[in-house]
Amino acid sequence: MSKEVTGTTWNVYDANKLTQAEIYGKVLCDLGNKYPNLVGLTADLSKSTKIGLFEEKFPERFINTGIAEQNLFGIAAGMAKTGLLPVVSTMSAFASMRAAEQVRTDICYQNLNVKIIATHGGVSFASAGTTHHATEDIAIMRSFANMTVIVPADGIETANAVRAAMEYEGPVYIRIGRGFEPTYYDKEEYGFQIGKAVDVRDGTDITIIAMGITVLQAAEAADFLAINDGLSVRVINMHTIKPIDKDAIMKAVTETRRIVTVEEHNIIGGLGTAVADVIAESGKGCAFTKIGLKDEFAEIGYPEDLYSYYKLDADGIIEKVREIMGKDFEEDEDWDDEV
């Protein structure tokens, strides 16, 4: 894989005029010049995923398999074996479930340099119903050895994640939404690094660990709680679910003693589980709550309805924070002891 990209200045796209998905489409076009071995692939979703922007610019480096996701990921694996850098885009549900074995065995087991940009993640394709919801994809993808899993907070972070993924050798799963989500960041220079959580708000009473669209909601909740409840709420953007930033989690455990995770995903196997693993293995305890879908399939509705119903919006997060702040838990006298 060509390595001439060193992360030079990056165009800041006007995130207000471009959707999350369009931003990554444009980023790919730029990267196409820098990486002559970059090829784009989709399965009849070049328009819906915006990888079509790359297709327009590099038609000879683009493969559309038609509606055939297993074939799509198998072909990407084969191309990677010949030295190409395949970027594959389809909806999260189909990337993670329809093609799960191709991703696991063909791509992850052979540790191939394939980048997956999975759109319509979580419940973002809300009224499309269960067939098009992807509330299991993080659990599936993080269980595949060799796979790196990233859930960007917005379009700006997606640009960062796509660029970082190119510079990283090995399979990467980047999960984004439908493309209409509001942005959190206003510039790309905030120190994005795979595997390193980003501080969004500093605080000492409680920590909210968020990923994807819930980062913005968590920040809003923190601001509200500061003014109305006098709480000092830390917010962490855990954009990389795997490898997870253990240091950031342990810092939150020791410094705030209360953690709420928020994920647009089943609470089994996703962000909350990944954070809980780190806490459990540390031998230190803290008050802990997961917000997400409670092992259920989601309803039909508009995205805002579902975000509110599953408590993924600021109001829902505020409610959960108040709940956990009210909880009693045993203080550990020897808290500072080494485990």
Partner: protein, 283 residues
């Protein structure tokens, strides 16, 4: 052959459902209208003439089954189930809205009369083959119908099911292919061609009929021939027009999914009425 009265009644039903599809699309804020209109006449024929179903007993274990493998065309299917009487048409107003039973893809857990939850392409035919085998193994007489898109045939699972159906000589199954020649990214033959389509199915051991999928008599004729066929699964390749009946949508890839406002809605209703006048419906 259909009697003249039958023919007219079926046309009236199809016209009424086409109008209902437009009204529902308008309220739903957008829908997969193109592929709904292309398959609709076949569904009308199945549900209003051939299928053994009872709206008052939608879960009857002996009923005929239908699997809408191209689940995104729910905007055509769900108004049809309402027209048939499975539930009140007023319920269609909730389409896509919070906790509605109706979203972009049909949910069998929530919709009376719907036999399978679909929307992820390439799942319908395997389920339909399973239903047909279920009837055979349990000595039941029900028949299973399935509808796939043409782009959908890119999915390998269809061809795995095709092999199984022929291997087990499944002859209580009828597959329709809505050959409207468009998928999302463009015309099917440009994105990922499926031709020679009839030869593929023949090579897989299926009996193939090719018809005009908007000609009620040809549809009825194909269904009856399928019922008579023994020891082989049957596929009907139905040549259709995506967006059929709505002039500005017809044969346009971009109307795979779209929203309409009241202005376009009026235009769509007028175009549908005009088509049926040309078919000889004056009332």
């Amino acid at each position: 052959m259909l009697t003249n009265d039958e023919y007219k009644e079926l046309l009236k039903t199809a016209r009424s459902i086409r109008h209902s599809v437009i009204d529902t699309t308008l309220k739903a804020g957008g829908a997969h209208v193109g592929g709904a209109m292309s398959m609709l006449d076949i569904l009308v024929m199945l549900y209003f003439k051939y299928m053994n179903i009872d709206v008052n007993n939608p879960d009857n274990p002996d009923r005929d089954r239908f699997v809408l493998s191209k689940g995104h065309a729910a905007i055509g299917y769900i108004p049809l189930l309402a027209e048939k009487g499975f539930f009140d048409k007023k319920l269609l107003d909730s389409f896509n809205k919070f906790k509605s039973p109706f979203g972009m893809h049909p949910d069998a857990n929530k919709i009376p009369g719907c036999d399978a939850s679909t929307g992820s392409l390439g799942h319908g035919l395997p389920m339909a083959v399973g239903m047909a085998l279920g009837a055979r193994i349990q000595n039941k007489n029900f028949y299973t119908y399935c509808m796939t898109g043409d782009g959908e045939l890119n999915e390998g699972s269809n061809w795995e099911a095709a092999m199984t159906a022929a291997h087990y000589k499944v002859d209580n199954l009828l597959l329709f292919i809505d050959r409207n020649r468009h998928m999302i990214d463009g015309p099917v033959e440009d994105v990922m061609g499926v031709e020679p389509l009839a030869d593929k199915w023949k090579a897989f051991g299926w009996k193939v009929f090719e018809i005009d999928g908007h000609d009620m008599n040809q549809i009825a004729d194909a269904i009856e021939k399928a019922h008579e066929t023994k020891d082989k699964p049957v596929v009907v390749i139905a040549k259709t027009t995506k967006g059929k009946g709505v002039d500005f949508m017809e044969d346009e890839t971009k109307w795979h999914y779209g929203a309409i406002d009241s202005f376009l809605g009026e235009q769509a209703h007028a175009s549908i009425d005009k088509m049926y006048v040309e078919y000889g419906l004056t009332d």
